[in-house]
Amino acid sequence: MTATSTTADAAPNEKSILQRLGRTARRQPLGVISGAMIVAMVFIAVFAPIIAPIDPLQINFADQLVGPTSTYLLGTDELGRDILSRLIYGSRTALLIGFVSAFVGAGIGLVLGVTSAYLGGLFDLLFQRVMDVFMAFPLIIMALAIVSVFGAGTGNVIIAITIPFIPKCARVVRSSALALRELPYIDAARASGFSHARIILVHMVPNVMAPFLIMVTSFVGQAILLEASLSYLGLGVQEPTAAWGLMLRGGAEQFFESAPWVAIFPGLAITLAVFAFNLFGDSLRDALDPKLRSI
């Protein structure tokens, strides 16, 4: 390598980050758009106190069910609370529950799935049967059964959403890890006398990150939808906390004819949030693991 060729090589490298971003944007325009939507949502949630024009819990009986005006950009609900501010604060509830239950559920599933594939034999067989049982229930039925035991409220909703995610992730991760187990480097690790825990956590888990990340992204969307459904049924987040599903309960249904804005905007927020995470998950899947495309 001569000096001239190095400088020639260096020229594209200087722009490489921008170029790479540009290339990703061209290849995955939907991924970039949905990623931007997620970043915007996180930004809104974090800076909610600065962005929200009015206190979301401020009840104002003088301004019940006021339509969109310059004071209340998206109108008010039946207690005179500002809908825009409640939507902004609601993003905190949605993202908190979404991220925590997705990451915890998928994380536990990741370790269990890899362990099951690594150990094989009877443990794997039994584990598979237990997972089969969990998979026989729709997410919301499982979550409602858990709520019926532990009760409603934000913390319990997180538990109720996390638990059904564990087997879903464990299954997908296990099938990826099965192929991994046969590779020589795992044999080498075993021959070196590493402990099972070390082989699983240090050598196998990092190699199934692609399906894991795809799962996590789609879980966040599903968790937001599930939280909204539970809250809508009155079995999730409780009043007066601002939560999108909760905003569609009660007044939204009672007065939707005279005050449609109460019913329309929270649903739009849920749809956009779930849409962004699903789309991002799709793009992530295309980028990381095109083989999974049919799922």
Binding site: P138, L233, I270
Partner: protein, 323 residues
């Protein structure tokens, strides 16, 4: 085939038993005790003797394994327990509601198939054109949109439309009528929840139709059909579509089994007294026997549906032979 069926039937036992163990022990994790919760929930004053009597009444004073086997044993003789809320037998409560939910579920599945197969097909044969993008966008939006919100929007749309065209606000009838007595009244009530649930469930089936059809359209025999001059419409309808239906049927079958999940929220919006509403009510009212029974019912439907899908496979594709 018969042997296979028997084998499948036997294989469903461990799954159902596992589900029973899971549900039963989940309910054992209730903080405190069902009786204590029942009395504490009612808000009135109560003493320890009342709780003790309640425990004897519900059989909670006996060893846990006895309780479990008695509960399981009940399923075989059609005794699913007594609702702790209404004191009527669970079977009595579930029966009439199951008819309504089943009807909505079937209608929703029909809606979902009617949306999914044409849209998925158009999307596949016009791959990467604007129409493909619109269909894919619609299906992703369908997954993202909560069905209860779609329900509210449908009601709102009906009100606006009827006000505009008829001059008065019309909403679907609330009182359930049997399809045998008044088929039109029945359909005008149930088509809306079926639409709300069906649209959501069509999303996955649309995507499946598209990807399965795209795969089949690349096969050699499709090229042969085109080469011998079969018109494109026939190539798609006669040759390709039939062979791409297997995965689509799986998706639709599993979704049918899972429709109960969708009905939980949709029945709430449309105020239908079906299984979904019963489930939500029993969770709200701490009716544990009812919750247990309904969760088991969902697991049972799921397992049966899986067997049905397998049988359908062999029927549709003679190459598949189970032994």
């Amino acid at each position: 085939m018969h042997k296979y069926l028997v084998k499948r039937m036997l294989m469903m036992i461990p799954t159902l038993l596992g589900a029973a163990v899971l549900v039963f022990f989940l309910m054992q994790m209730i903080p405190g005790d069902i009786c204590a919760l029942r009395y504490a929930g009612s808000g009135g004053t109560f003493d320890a003797s009342q709780i003790a009597r309640c425990r004897v009444e519900l059989g909670l004073d006996r060893p846990i394994f006895v309780q479990f086997f008695e509960w399981i044993g009940g399923f075989f003789i059609g005794d699913f327990g007594t609702s702790m809320w209404t004191d009527r037998s669970v079977a009595e409560e579930i029966g009439p509601r199951a008819v309504l939910s089943l009807q909505v579920a079937i209608m929703a599945t029909i809606v979902s198939v009617c949306i999914a197969i044409p849209l998925g097909t158009i999307s596949a044969i016009r791959q990467n054109t604007w129409i493909d993008y619109v269909v894919r966008g619609l299906s992703i939006a369908g997954i993202a949109m909560p069905s209860f919100w779609l329900g509210i929007l449908i009601m709102l749309g009906l009100l606006w439309a009827s006000n505009y065209f008829l001059g008065y606000g019309w909403i679907p009838p609330i009182q359930y009528v049997s399809p045998l007595e008044d088929p039109i009244g029945n359909v005008t009530q149930l088509i809306w929840p079926a639409l709300a649930t069906g649209y959501r469930y069509s999303a996955v089936a649309t995507r499946m139709t598209r990807s399965a059809l795209l795969e089949v359209l690349r096969e050699d025999y499709i090229r042969t059909a085109r080469a011998k001059g079969v018109i494109e419409k026939l190539v798609v309808n006669r040759h390709a579509l039939k062979n791409s239906m297997l995965p689509v049927i799986t998706v639709i079958g599993i979704e049918f089994a899972f429709l109960m999940g969708g009905l939980v929220v949709t029945e709430q919006v449309f105020n239908l007294n079906g299984l979904g509403k019963l489930f939500v009510d029993s969770v709200t009212n701490h009716d544990y026997t009812m919750t247990q029974a309904l969760v088991m019912l969902v697991a049972f439907i799921f397992v049966m549906m899986n067997i049905a899908i397998d049988v359908m496979y062999a029927w549709l594709d003679p190459r598949i032979r189970y032994s």
